[in-house]
């Protein structure tokens, strides 16, 4: 430590390198400069860059645009668009609304939106938290431009009664997937680890109007993480669909969504087939078996995504859904009609027989 005489002997006030000395209520206090212990995550860096970018954009506004933002900010002072009433400057309003829009993948709004906004609260049936599932079910769907924002905490002690200040945004403006919001993948990316059985997870949910950047009132909830078996006993029914999370990495698809939950004579496909080994088909190797009543054959439309000949060709694919006696389960997308293109997206309903 380098101690300068002015610090060490004259009332201990001043700073030298990492040490600050000061007098507090007659006592001399020495403190070492605090450094942030956490690593700056890419998403934190991106968010902070966005805020300064938005702030810079504000300076580019014309006088009339700034005036409009001021008018909007005056309206927002007394209205709780952001969960609590607050004083707000034109610059504040511009940054808050546009940071919401950027979170939802929209561009910066230069003209102030109308302050008149009617955003509903989030209505849902149940939240299921297990070490392998983080899903909100029974969400009452809202059409564009409303998108769902979900904030969640890491698993905390079950004794914590209020952990909503520890939530972070895990989904910034998603559309519910037919009443479901399965956020485990996003949660793992943001939080980094799944909650353990017995942990308490805090959630905050609200709708965001991605056109105006306004958000609705938040719904607050918390759930104790339980085992998958307990969840099933309590009535959790896993959606009957196969996504990239359910397949092995050597599968010949870059995108996979095979949804059996139609209750109709079709399966819904949204899959990008890459092909393999100069064979006009793509194999998807599954982690689990296919439910027995979904084993069979299907047929769906495809459209090329290539760069060369017939890049956009319409095609038909026969799709075999099989469980084998040796334990493997596969979905095979085999080209049938049209010019074969790699890659091809196979989409839409496929008849099941």
């Amino acid at each position: 430590m380098i101690a300068k005489p002015s610090i060490a002997f004259n009332d201990f006030s001043g700073t030298a390198k990492d040490v600050t000395a000061r007098t507090v209520q007659g006592r001399n206090v020495l403190s070492v400069r605090a450094y942030q212990s956490k690593v700056f995550t890419p998403s934190q860096a991106a968010t902070r860059n966005q805020l300064s970018k938005i702030s810079r954009e504000y300076k580019q506004l014309s006088d009339s645009q700034m005036q409009a933002w001021e008018v909007l900010a005056n309206h927002l002072k007394g209205i709780s668009y952001f969960g609590k009433a607050a004083e707000m400057t034109a610059h504040n309003a511009f940054v808050r609304i546009n940071s919401n829009r950027l979170l939802a993948g929209k561009s910066i709004l230069m003209d102030a939106p109308s302050h008149i906004s009617n955003i509903p609260g989030v209505v849902y049936d149940e939240i299921w938290v297990t070490p392998s599932d983080l899903i909100i079910k029974g969400i009452v769907h809202k059409n564009d431009p409303l998108r769902l924002v979900i904030k969640m905490s890491a698993g905390l002690s079950a004794g914590v009664s209020s952990g909503w200040s520890k939530t972070v945004i895990v989904s910034a403006g998603i559309e519910d997937d037919w009443g479901d919001a399965n956020v485990r993948g996003r949660y793992m990316k943001v939080v980094g680890f799944a909650p353990a059985v017995g942990d308490k997870v805090f959630l905050e949910l609200y709708w965001m109007n991605t056109d105006t950047g306004f958000v609705g009132a938040s719904a607050f909830d918390s759930k104790i993480c339980i085992t998958s078996e307990e969840a099933e006993e309590e009535g959790y029914v896993k959606r009957n669909k196969i996504t990239m999370d359910d397949i092995q990495p050597d599968s010949h698809v870059s995108d996979c969504d095979v949804d059996f939950s139609t209750g109709a004579p079709v399966i819904s496909f949204d899959t990008v087939c890459l092909g393999h080994s100069n064979v006009a088909s793509s194999e998807v190797y599954l982690n689990d078996t296919i439910p027995e009543d979904c084993v069979g054959t299907s047929m769906a439309l495809g459209r090329g995504m290539g760069n060369d000949r017939c890049a956009l060709a319409a095609q038909s694919y026969i799709i075999w859904l099989r469980n084998y006696s040796w334990g493997d389960s596969t979905i095979t997308f085999a080209h049938r009609g049209g010019y074969y293109v790699q890659p091809t997206e196979v989409f839409g309903p496929g008849i099941l027989y």
Partner: protein
Amino acid sequence: MFNSTGNNFGAGSIQFKDYQAENYVVLNAKFTYDPTNAAYLAADVLEIYVPDLAIDRSAVAGVIMRFRDVRTSYGYTWDNSGGTALKSWIKDKNTICIEKLTNFDEKGDITIYMQALYPMLNQPGSPIKGTRTRINMTQETRYLYWDSETFCVIFDHWVFVHIGFSSCSYSYRDSPWEATMGNFPTDVCADVPFCGGGNQYNPSVNGISEAHIENGIFTCQERTSGFEDTGYSPFIFAFLVRDGENNSE
């Protein structure tokens, strides 16, 4: 059967043949629009407005778009008509959407063949399994040959059909084609796109011809010029509404 109440791309009134169940609908329509009209140019997504449907939204389905491109050279007519599959979905009870693909707008009028089943998702229960029925394509003098994926799956109010073309006897290649579709319901009447065949002047897509199914008879008056090119495997893929007394549940 119902008519559209409007659209945002200048297509005029569109007539639909429909079967509407609680959790899915089958819609059939064939219509044409001019891609130079102002309404089309202003639209991001093609929207067709309709009276209340049985479902208030759907997952994505596929429809086929077709443009005409017929050229004459040295007295020979060269048909390079083509097209591809477009995504379509029901946005709400009164709006059917079709993705806007502008790649072929300079070709003139575009025809859409909507022969699609629009399902809902996250519905209770498993998918319903149908029965594959082989379509027995017959002719008095056999000149058309079909591949093994020529079949249908028949339901009370609609039928799924896939027809895979294999080959045609050389002397019949330019004639109108006709074949009887054995095992196929006779209460289906539809123009269907026959996708496939090479397309020399529009190499980003297959050729697309048009066939017709009525009273269990398949007809196809003419095909695009590269129809029998190797590797282009012409096919028909359609969910077709059967003509019944009452097709809505």
